[in-house]
Symmetry: C2
């Protein structure tokens, strides 16, 4: 552990940015497809709790297939087969795969303030996107985002755990105490970074979904409401 007291005065050199639901909308695309999926499965029988079953299949498959749209599509296909006892027609399965294609092709919608703020951050810090999921898809999304010119790099993680953050920082020659991770997930973006001696700024994607609320530096990280408040929050670390 490089360890640095939260709120200590070491200068920040590098800002890590989560991508899905931090830089651009992602969760609503999954929710939209889940709603379509529930309709599709319901058409083949009296099926309750489609979403719960899908979530259980996803959890199971996550350990095998990892994160991302392709694993989600495979989980939907398995769920449809299981819940309909094999009655789901092949054409509907083809439709589910087309939804996956649609998710890959979905245009990037940046969250408010992101474009200007990332450009502003890049004048003071190295800015590295650090995201989880499908390598190919995540790199495509960064390319389509228009943010690439402001970035020092893009890192796609198979898992956002302390060891992976440590490895990526080491590889880039970044001291943990000069690093801040910014993201919408306390579990993936904040806690593992605090554990290796870095700092965190939490931006809940939708405050109504946020299970945790922390104000100020109390638990070692900062929470802000909007992406455009980021430069100000970063400045407090250097105070």
């Amino acid at each position: 552990m490089t360890g640095s007291a939260p709120g200590s005065a070491a200068a920040i050199t590098t800002v890590g940015l989560d991508a899905d639901d931090t830089l651009w909308h992602c969760e609503p695309h999954f929710k939209l497809i889940e709603a379509r999926f529930a309709d599709l499965v319901a058409a083949h029988g009296d099926v309750d709790e489609v979403n719960e079953h899908l979530l259980a299949v996803e959890r199971h498959n996550l350990e095998v297939f990892g994160y991302g749209v392709k694993g989600f599509v495979l989980s939907m296909i398995e769920t449809a087969i299981q819940l309909t006892d094999g009655a789901v027609p092949a054409d509907d399965i083809a439709t589910i795969i087309d939804w996956g294609r649609e998710m890959f092709a979905h245009p990037i919608e940046l969250l408010p303030g992101v474009a200007e703020t990332v450009g502003r951050l890049a004048r003071s810090y190295d800015v590295v996107v650090m995201t989880k999921g499908d390598l190919f898809h995540q790199e495509s999304k960064v390319a389509a985002s228009g943010l690439a010119e402001h970035l020092t790099g893009v890192e796609v993680f198979a898992e956002k755990d302390p060891a992976t953050y440590r490895r990526v920082l080491d590889r880039r020659g970044i001291a943990a105490h000069s690093f801040v991770m910014v993201g919408n997930s306390v579990a993936s973006d904040i806690l593992p970074v605090l554990e290796i001696g870095g700092r965190g700024i939490h931006i809940p994607y939708d405050t109504s979904w946020a299970l945790d609320h922390v104000e100020g530096h109390g638990d070692g990280y900062v929470e802000i409401e909007r992406f455009d408040l980021l430069p100000g929050a970063l400045a407090t670390f250097a105070a």
Copy 2:
């Protein structure tokens, strides 16, 4: 272009190693599943040229879904639906997904000489695995390979093109002229590295499949027959 004459005398500091069919067997697992797939589809009609159709679907999907087992599984499902005009039963589709799970769980079988040779290389060079495909699966395979202790790092590329090699080398502070890439694919492992001023060593996975044969440094890269010849081939670069 950093440009360095092929065969010039700059010292090699870093060896990049392709993974699938360079460090361990991979292609045979795909061939095995393709054979099962042809049987499965043939059971539902008089279907010729299953493999050709699958290959066409894969090519089309590659641009959307990228490389790896999950994309392969989705392509098999689409091919089965198309070739049987939707007559493929849902249970068979579940079977195809189980094949994907089986491929992910397949134990790593290192190629002859790899374990000893990678350990030996690590005493003289930084050794970085540079592979293409599914991030989660490739990192799992490296972890299961027993080679991790000898590696400086693992890089999974969405695409093995000159720009990606350049970006990875820059990030790691490696000068192209001190870098050698080793792999079974001339197109993915050798030519893009030569283009950015690095060196290449080609180890055909199965000489009966190799479409290209080059001896010596004629075209700017070396070809060797077996992985255990690698230390000797690397030594010729430093001569």
